[in-house]
Amino acid sequence: MGRLRNLLIPGVDKTLLLKDAVKTMPDLTRRRFISGGASLGALTLLTGCDVTDQFSAEEMLKQVSKFNDGVQAWMFNPDALAPTFPESAITKPFPFNAYYSLDEAPEIEAKDWKLEVRGLVENKKSWTLEELYKLPQVKQVTRHICVEGWSAIGSWTGTPLRDFLKIVGADTRAKFVWFQCADKDGYNSPLDMRSALHAQTQMTFKFGDEILPRAYGFPMKIRVPTKLGFKNPKYVISMEVTNDYKGGFWEDQGYNSFSGS
């Protein structure tokens, strides 16, 4: 708060400054900012705080969310497996969900695609789909839970991420594996190393025993049944083993970063 106040220019109307600042925001952010402000505004009426205190409420919520990251990391039991289900329990049709419509989903040509491996790894070579398909695969039938509340049971087959991290000689003492994707506007998401090393965390190549369809992230998605859906990136094009928190598409907008199930 103190830092923010210092940034304001003396003699400049804070309200007008705010209005101008909002105008420069991209559309989506602006809409969220304003609608967020509107209900914070309602609370402002109750508490009698002035407009700049919107920032302190937002700041407080961010701090609590960080605290909740810590609590969830503490609750996370690396040996606890997500419940698995019989094939008969699979949700049909399994929903397509994204911040864009299905016809805006990335269309990736298998022969053009390569998985880039970066950061704290011994072998930084890129992998073709053909090479990845040769790795041992495991199937899981687990519940996918969306941050919105709905859930669906699906069947995913692929290589445990921890096996792959071992093959590329990743430094598993690093804090995160950061994924970048081919989605429009560039999707990305960080995954904490303990979750990355969980037995069920998977580089997924098949859904329902068939090659992963475009709707669910062809050619590769990361299936993390111990995390909410948005922490399960699709259309993955690179992974980076890193100690830096690089943020994520939804994480940066306010979804809790750990978001463990």
Binding site: R32, I34, S35, G36, G37, A38, S39, L40, A42, L43, M60, L61, K62, V64, S65, N68, M75, F76, N77, A80, L81, A82, P83, R143, I145, C146, V147, E148, G149, W150, S151, P225, T226, W250, Q253, G254, Y255, N256, G260, S261
Partner: protein, 212 residues
């Protein structure tokens, strides 16, 4: 009814000598903290519900908190700490001081029936606010149980892997969402009745603010 009348007389006799504390300070502090946390939880919870409604309706944005799903989740998972810590202190003190036992027990079906009848015919006495009638006992004990259930079902939705035994107790993730929703509905219904009755008997509201 005669026993209620008799104890009312005793109470007013005592009250004559010295105005006694009806609601001790700890009850008042925890009550209003709980009310505040509940309102935050319910308003943000409605916004979260709207992202994936269980039924054929959504809550108007004007009565929700957070602006969008992400904002509502931040509020919900911040206010939950206030609600849980406050609720745990309340349960601990309620048990330790014997308040639950003294105020809420026993609850007999005959007592509840008689007092419901008395309430509906406008004959229920509110002379001695330190003693709850059977309808109050039932509702207050009931809402404590609902309060525990809404926290547990919330945890079951939040952590269906780490707390999977809890989630299974509610019949799985999807069932826990319904339990969580119906607990909310019960709390909102309770709040409506509770506020209306507190306004109809203003001295009960005064007692929850200044203690007497």
């Amino acid at each position: 009814m005669s026993s209620i009348a008799a104890s009312d007389e005793q109470a007013s006799a005592k009250a004559g000598t010295k105005a006694k504390v009806i609601q001790p300070a700890w009850v008042r502090a925890l009550h209003w903290t709980n009310a505040f946390a509940m309102v935050l939880m319910i308003m943000s919870g409605w916004k979260i519900y709207n992202a994936s409604p269980l039924f054929d309706f959504t809550f108007s944005d004007s009565i929700t908190l957070g602006g969008w799903l992400g904002g509502a989740l931040l509020w919900h998972f911040a206010a939950m700490w206030l609600l849980m810590v406050n609720g745990l202190i309340y349960l601990a003190l309620g048990l330790a001081t014997g308040r639950f036992r003294k105020k809420l027990l026993p609850i007999t079906p005959e007592g509840v029936l008689a007092d419901t009848k008395a309430a509906l015919t406008g004959k229920l006495s509110h002379e001695d606010l330190t003693k709850y009638n059977y309808v109050q006992k039932l509702l207050y004990a009931g809402i404590i149980v609902v309060g525990i259930l809404i926290v547990l079902s919330g945890l079951a939705i939040w952590k269906p892997v780490q707390l999977q035994y809890l989630t299974a107790m509610f019949g799985g993730y999807e069932a826990a969402r319904y339990v969580h929703f119906f607990c909310m509905a019960a709390i909102v219904a309770f709040m409506v009745v509770h506020v209306v009755l507190a306004l109809l008997v203003p001295k009960s509201l005064r007692a929850m603010i200044i203690g007497r």
